[in-house]
Symmetry: C2
Subunit: 362 residues, 2 copies
C-alpha cells in the first residue's frame, strides 16, 4: 500500500451560515449538524484510514489557533496557512508541494472540511477503493455522488456508464468522466437526474501527488511556476514572505475548472453514503431530524402552532406562534428569520454588513 | 378648583409583551412605543395638571424600587404597594383611603400606567373637563373613547346620546351611561361601531374620593369593611401586617364590574385623542410608524424582501429574508417570532414557562 496523505481544505469564510458563521468561526468550526465541529467530524471519519501525522489542514491565519487547539494530535506544522483564499487550485497545489517533498508517489486525498456523510462506513469503503485506483492507475480520481433530487446547488459530473473496453475498473463501479457540468437550472437538473449518468460533484479528490502536480504544470503552467517559487523556500526563513508575494499574484481558480475539466482522463467513483455539503440553512433543515410538525429544534424552544420550521437558539429561549416554513437562528448578538427556500440570500446580509462596515457582526 | 390627586395603577404583570415584559420589568416599565417608559409618559402627560406630590402610584413589591428611581420627584410614600394583585377595585379602594384622609372632597383621577395617547393636549382638555364635572356633580365619571374600528379587545360603554333633560352636561359632550358591555365578538363589535352610541371603555375614571368610597361601601360592602381595617392602621407599624391579611381575603374584582355597572348614575366623557391601551404586539405594530414596505423597526436590522413586519431587536442585529406579516422581538435571553394577528397567544408561552418552571424567562 502507498503512503496516504489527507489534505483538508478549511479556508472557507462560511458566509452562508450567518449569523452562526463569522469570520472567526466559519462553518467548519461549528457544530452545525449533530455533535462535534464539522472539521472534527471530517478528521474523525478518516482516522481509521489515515494517521494524524499524515493529515494536512490548509486554512487561514484567523482559524489556525482554533484548529491547533481542536487537533492536538495533528502536528502544528501540518496546519498550512494560506495568506489569502485563492480558491481550490492554489490550495491543493500548495499542500501538494509539502506532500511531494516527503513522497512523490504518495496518494493524496483532498477533502473539504465541511461535508457530512450519513453512512461513514460506506464512505470509507469508497475512499479505500479510490486510494487503490489512484495509486494503481496514476490517474485523477474524483468522488461523484448518486443524485437523489434535482439539486441546483451542486455541480454535476457526467460519466461514461457503458463499458467501452478502455476502462479496466468499470466492473468495480468506477467510471470515466465524460464532462463536468456547472450548477444547472432546475429544468436541466431534472434532465440530469432522469438521464441516470450524472453524478453530483462532491469536491473530493484522490490522486498520486505527482499526478496532480504534473496536471497543474500542464494546465496551469503560470500557477505551477509560482508554486515552484514557494517550493524553493519551504523550511527557510524566506517562506512566509515568498508565500505572501506569490499569493498576491497567483490565480484564484478552482481545481475543477483549472484542471479536472481539462485533464485527459479522469475517473469517478460513485458514492452513495448520504452525502451533503451542507451549503445552506435550507440544507441543514433538509438533513435534520424533525418532529411530527416538521420542526427541527436545537436549544430551548416553545413552538406554538408552528410547522416546518428550523430553530437554532444557542442559549436563547426561542418561541414561535402561528408560523410555518421558517428558519430561525439566534446567536449572542444577532437573529436571522428566513423563509424556507430563501437561505441562499443570507449572503445579501453579509454583503450588507460588509458595505456598512458593521464588522462586529461579520 | 378642588384638590386633585392622580392614582396611577401600575401593578400589571405584563405577560402580553413577553419576551420584553417580565415579572421584574412589566409593560409599564418598558419603552414600548416612542421614548420613555409607559409610566413615565403617563406621569409626564398629566404633569401640567397635577403636581408630583399629588400623584400616587399603586404597584407591587417587585416594581417599587424601579418606580422610586424613575420618579425622584414623587415622594416615596406615594408609591403604594399591594401585597398581591386583586384587580382594580381593591387597588382603587386602597388608594382612596390615602386620598380621603387628606381631603375627602378631593377629586381622584384614576389612570392605568400603560396607555398611550397621540393627542395629549386633547387628553388634558378632556381630563380638565372630567375633573370639573366630577367635582361639581359628585358623580362617577369615566372616559369613553370614540371607536375607530370594531375592536374585540376592549369593553364598551353605551351612552344615552339624546338629551332627555336630566343631564345638565349634555351640551358639553358628557353623556349618561346606559350600559357597560364586556369585550364583544366581531359581529357584535361591528354592530357597536355602526350604532354610534357605543364608546370604548378606557379604564380611566374621575370622581370625588368620597363619592367612589361611598359607592364601594354600597356595592361592595364586604370589601369596604376590609378597607376600613386597613384605614385604621395607616401610619402605624401594624399597617403592613393588616394589609397582607386583608389582601389575602379581599375579593379580586374590577371596579367596572364591582361598582360602575351597578352605580345609579355614571357620566362618560367622550375622548378622541388617539388612545390605545397597547394590549399586544399586534397593537404596537398598529400604532407604530412604518416604512414603505410596512415594516416597523426598532434597533439595528436588515430586512431583505420583507413586508409588514414589526422588529424589535434591543442590542441584537436582526435580519430577515423573504418573510411577511411577522412580529420579531429579541431580548438578551429570548426571541419571539409571531404571526401578525396571533400575538394574543403570547400568554400561551408565558403559561408554558410557568408550567415548566423556567423562571429565568418569566
Amino acid at each position: 500500500m502507498p503512503n496516504v496523505y489527507a489534505v483538508i481544505m478549511a479556508g472557507g469564510a462560511g458566509t452562508r451560515f450567518w449569523p452562526r458563521s463569522r469570520e472567526k468561526s466559519p462553518k467548519q468550526l461549528l457544530e452545525i449538524v449533530g455533535k462535534g465541529t464539522m472539521i472534527q467530524n471530517t478528521v474523525q471519519r478518516i482516522s481509521d484510514l489515515i494517521e494524524p501525522k499524515n493529515i494536512l489542514i490548509v486554512t487561514n491565519k484567523i482559524q489556525k489557533p482554533s484548529l491547533e487547539k481542536q487537533f492536538l494530535n495533528i502536528p502544528n506544522e501540518n496546519i498550512i496557512v494560506e495568506p489569502l483564499g485563492r480558491n481550490t487550485a492554489p490550495c491543493i497545489g500548495l499542500a501538494g508541494l509539502f506532500v511531494r517533498r516527503i513522497d512523490p508517489d504518495a496518494v493524496m486525498v483532498v477533502l473539504p472540511a465541511d461535508h457530512i456523510m450519513h453512512d461513514e462506513e460506506e464512505f470509507r469503503r469508497v475512499l479505500r477503493l479510490a486510494i487503490w485506483v489512484a495509486y494503481e492507475s496514476g490517474k485523477l480520481i474524483t468522488i461523484g455522488i448518486q443524485p437523489t433530487r434535482p439539486e441546483t446547488g451542486y455541480g454535476y459530473i457526467q460519466v461514461i456508464d457503458e463499458d467501452d473496453g478502455t476502462n479496466p475498473y468499470f466492473e468495480r463501479g468506477i467510471y470515466k468522466v465524460k464532462t463536468f457540468a456547472e450548477k444547472p437550472n432546475l429544468t436541466t437538473a431534472k434532465q440530469f437526474l432522469d438521464s441516470g449518468d450524472f453524478l453530483w460533484n462532491s469536491g473530493m479528490f484522490v490522486w498520486r501527488v505527482n499526478t496532480i502536480m504534473q496536471e497543474i504544470e500542464q494546465h496551469l503552467p503560470d500557477m505551477y511556476q509560482e508554486l515552484l517559487k514557494i517550493d524553493d523556500v519551504i523550511g527557510s526563513d524566506k517562506y512566509t514572505n515568498v508565500l505572501e508575494t506569490t499569493y498576491r499574484i497567483i490565480r484564484g481558480i478552482s481545481i475543477d475548472y483549472g484542471v479536472m475539466e481539462k485533464a485527459k482522463e479522469v475517473y469517478v467513483i460513485k458514492g452513495n453514503f448520504g452525502w451533503s455539503d451542507v451549503g445552506s440553512w435550507d440544507e441543514v433543515y433538509r438533513i435534520s431530524g424533525r418532529d411530527d410538525n416538521g420542526n427541527s429544534v436545537t436549544g430551548q424552544a416553545f413552538l406554538h402552532d408552528t410547522k416546518n420550521t428550523l430553530v437554532y437558539g444557542g442559549d436563547k429561549f426561542i418561541s414561535t406562534i402561528g408560523v410555518e416554513d421558517l428558519i430561525i437562528i439566534a446567536t449572542d448578538d444577532a437573529v436571522l428569520v428566513c423563509k424556507q427556500g430563501r437561505s441562499q440570500d443570507v449572503k445579501e446580509i453579509v454583503d450588507y454588513l460588509r458595505r456598512k462596515q458593521k464588522n462586529d457582526y461579520l
